[in-house]
């Protein structure tokens, strides 16, 4: 699968900021994930490596090193629950369990319809609002309670249905 012209253009626009093209790799992978539903399909990697003038293996090892890059599909809504100390102290385990129950899946898994995936993540830098839940790139502002899980999942399903109708 070739990189789309738009994506190629976005990546190339980053080059002037750095003395080496390789420095754009993390940014480029974020762009790929933005365009490809939150993950990096294997078949874009050779062209990406070519564009940045680096070996394919360098792209692969960066993808596997950083926890925000996904080599497998994630859900349309990627639910990330921080389970580090400040969040655990305020009930993060209960939040994980609530999503496990509502979605019938375990952390690291995706629902059959591709709508949701669940992940336990490390500190998201918002310990004052613990427990912290982040959906895709957006943090929930207030401490999330296990009882909120049903409502959130329903709202996200409804939002997905609405955007499907529009398109």
């Amino acid at each position: 699968m070739p990189l789309s012209p738009k994506l190629t253009q976005r990546i190339c626009a980053e080059f002037p900021k750095y003395p080496e093209k390789r420095a754009v790799l993390l940014t480029a992978l974020h762009f790929v994930q933005d365009e490809c539903g939150g993950w990096v399909p294997n078949d874009v990697i050779p062209e990406l490596a070519h564009l940045l003038e680096i070996p394919v293996i360098d792209v692969l090892e960066v993808i596997s090193f950083y926890s925000m890059f996904h080599a497998e599909p994630v859900g349309r809504y990627h639910l990330q629950v921080c389970t580090n100390l400040p969040c655990c102290l305020r009930g993060a385990r209960g939040v994980v369990r609530a999503f496990e129950r509502v979605l019938d899946l375990r952390p690291g898994e995706r629902t059959a319809d591709g709508m949701f995936s669940l992940a336990e993540v490390e500190c998201l830098g918002s310990c004052g609002t613990a427990p912290v839940l982040q959906v895709n790139n957006r943090r929930h502002e207030e401490g999330f309670k296990p009882a909120d899980a049903d409502g959130l999942v329903a709202r996200l399903r409804a939002a997905a249905a609405t955007s499907r109708k529009k398109s």
Binding site: Y66, L85, C123
Partner: protein, 428 residues
């Protein structure tokens, strides 16, 4: 009780837009620095102010700047550390969300002082909102002539680029950050050479935290003596403390260094819910040794006092644990974190973090033995000080100090064949 806000706008205000920042005195320090002060004067002023790095290690910023070579080689860079990922730490986020021009102005003055061509702000990938907010502020600063060619009519060209990380704690380590910025795995580099000599793309580079750089404007405006009068000796100025865990009002509080930890927990953060008793405090992010309640009630939040108490100030991220909480579980969560975040480069860390985590899991599951307690201590000693970067030290302290300061509770897990606090403690 009121905070002393130098870095942050008054409670309830947001100065992210340049008009608001300027209306409150913003960019006056940059104008003063570029028009009235020689670069060397600024380096000396920052050194004289005693400003110490706010990223965890607490190195004196002005001394770090002095390590740059004097040969005039260009280009030279600033790598500004916005990777904030030490658990319990959420202070740089406040600056990035509420006062991003403060950081830009600090970077601009530091660039003038150190003949810097460009600054790269390395921001953790999860901070999408702060990334967008800082980028918007950078665009305003270009439009207003504070960035770009001939800044403020001088012969200085200066650019700021905001760069996103992708979820790796180790990229907050200064050389892991440089590797990551260059587009590689964030595995720390051996030193020497230090970044000031050979940093980004093997060019001279200064690496400073967001908060450190954000202190520079008000030091230029008010002078080193003024800054030294805030805080205590060898720990000058304010910092943004974060308080989380078992408190009534978790959040950030900007206060002078040297503030008693007791005041921070009981006055500012409202104490512990339902009048429960304090049990333990991690005073500076989970990398720093845990304090018992007795130690915590006596210590002040500055470098000297915390070292004397057997811990460190770190990032000033305070995690409070009350009487219900199990210390083995706390150590387990911290060990799990470091196991996940070890970059895998050094054997002591890669293997040691796994050992510590497995030992904690076994204790908590009731399968621990007395020799496991000795093993925790032994593994911790095997890791501490024997690796390229300080992640192994932090992992060793996290587990080792919970064991040393709460040994009875660890022993009880062995003799009870499980967690004696399972009925009250948080779940892991």
């Amino acid at each position: 009780m009121a905070e002393l806000r130098l870095l942050l706008p008054p409670v309830g205000q947001n100065w992210s837009r340049i008009a608001d920042y300027r209306a409150n005195g913003g960019y006056a320090a940059a104008a003063k620095a570029l028009r009235e002060m020689k670069p060397a004067e600024i380096v000396e002023l920052v050194k004289e102010s005693g400003l110490r790095g706010r990223g965890g290690a607490g190195f004196v910023a002005g001394i770090k700047w002095n390590f740059l070579p004097k040969d005039g080689r260009r280009p030279r860079y600033i790598a500004c550390n916005a990777d904030e990922s030490e658990p319990g730490t959420f202070k740089d986020r406040q600056i990035l969300e509420l006062n991003p021009h403060k950081l830009i102005e600090g970077l601009l003055i530091a660039a003038w002082a150190n003949s810097i061509d460009a600054a790269y702000v390395y921001m953790r990938g999860e901070y999408r909102g702060p990334f967008e907010n800082l980028n918007a502020a950078v665009a305003e600063a270009y439009a207003a002539g504070y960035l770009g060619k001939n800044v403020l009519g001088t012969d200085m060209d200066f650019d700021i680029y905001v760069h996103r990380g992708a979820g790796a704690y180790i990229c907050g380590e200064e050389t892991g950050l440089l590797e990551s910025l260059e587009g590689r795995k964030g595995q720390p580099r051996k030193r020497p050479p230090f970044p000031a000599i050979s940093g980004l793309w093997r060019r001279p580079t200064i690496v400073n935290n967001v908060e450190t750089m954000s202190h520079v404007p008000h030091i230029v405006t008010n002078g080193a003596e003024w800054f030294k009068r805030i805080g205590v000796e060898k720990s000058t100025g304010t910092t943004i403390f974060g308080v989380s865990g078992d408190v009534v009002r978790p959040g950030t509080y900007e206060l002078p260094l040297g503030t008693p930890l007791r005041e921070l927990i009981f006055d500012y953060a409202g104490g512990i819910p339902e009048g429960r008793a304090l049990k333990a405090v991690v005073p500076g992010g989970v990398s720093m040794p845990v304090l018992t309640a007795e130690q915590a009630m006596q210590v002040t939040m500055d470098h000297q006092a915390l070292i004397a108490a057997g811990s460190m100030l770190g990032t000033g991220g305070v995690v409070v644990l009350d009487e219900r909480q199990c210390m083995v579980r706390a150590a387990l969560v911290i060990a799990r974190f470091f196991r996940h975040e070890s970059c895998g480069q050094c054997t002591q860390c890669r293997e040691g973090t796994g050992w510590l985590h497995r030992l904690m899991v076994s204790l908590e599951a009731g399968t621990g033995t007395p020799s496991d307690l000795e093993a925790i201590d032994e593994v911790a000693r095997f890791m501490d000080g024997h690796t390229i970067c300080a992640l192994a030290d932090a992992a060793a302290w996290g587990s080792g100090w919970f064991l040393r300061r709460f040994r009875q509770e660890f022993e009880a897990h062995v003799s009870h064949h499980g967690c004696p606090l399972a009925g009250t403690s948080f779940e892991v």
